[in-house]
Symmetry: C2
Subunit: 118 residues, 2 copies
């Protein structure tokens, strides 16, 4: 199996339960016990999924002794979004136009009314 960073992220996300755990953690920290309950999973099963998410850098363990709440880390998703941007032109017809438009706006701002940019 491949171990480059992006492949690990994609591999970790390629499971609906792990995506559900991530969605839960995105609303706030949770312990393994708190995660196991709504998903109706055994603690070892939750722990296994968390380990995959942790290796991918999507989840980190808190340092509070005993309970060690898990915390969502968005960085790997940001990198994945960056990779996807290479392909956006294939489905987003308005992307090129928006991109051109935003560049125009930036140009306007530089020559225009924002005193911070002078």
């Amino acid at each position: 199996m491949s171990t480059d960073r992006l492949s690990m992220t994609l591999q970790a996300l390629a499971d609906p339960t792990r995506r559900a755990i991530l969605a839960r953690l995105a609303t706030g920290e949770a312990t393994v016990n708190e995660l196991a309950e709504p998903f109706d999973m055994s603690l070892p099963a939750v722990s296994r999924h968390l380990k995959v998410l942790e290796r991918a850098g999507l989840v980190e363990q808190g340092r509070t002794a005993q309970f060690r709440p898990r915390k969502f880390r968005p960085e790997p998703l940001r990198d994945l979004a960056g990779w996807l941007e290479n392909y956006r032109r294939f489905w987003d017809e308005s992307f090129d136009r928006l991109d051109a438009y935003l560049k125009e706006l930036q140009k306007g701002e530089k020559h225009g009314s924002d005193p911070k940019d002078r």
Copy 2:
């Protein structure tokens, strides 16, 4: 293994060679032979990767008899980008502001100078 659509997409992308094949096909159709050459891979190896990409809907087989060029299909990437949007606020500080700004622009256009919108 999970077989929901998004999981299949992520699974297919979780390999650097498959992502490289996809990047090549995004520049234009190619036959299995044409794909095998630059990647220095055997035809069966390329075929195996292509099968995973095809099952995920990221590649389709052309109907030209004999050569059957493979073609890139962007739809699964668009859906993945849609899923990622749920998390964009975690890394894109300017996202909320840009979103608000674009809504303002749209409002301006509606009340403004584009006759198509009236």
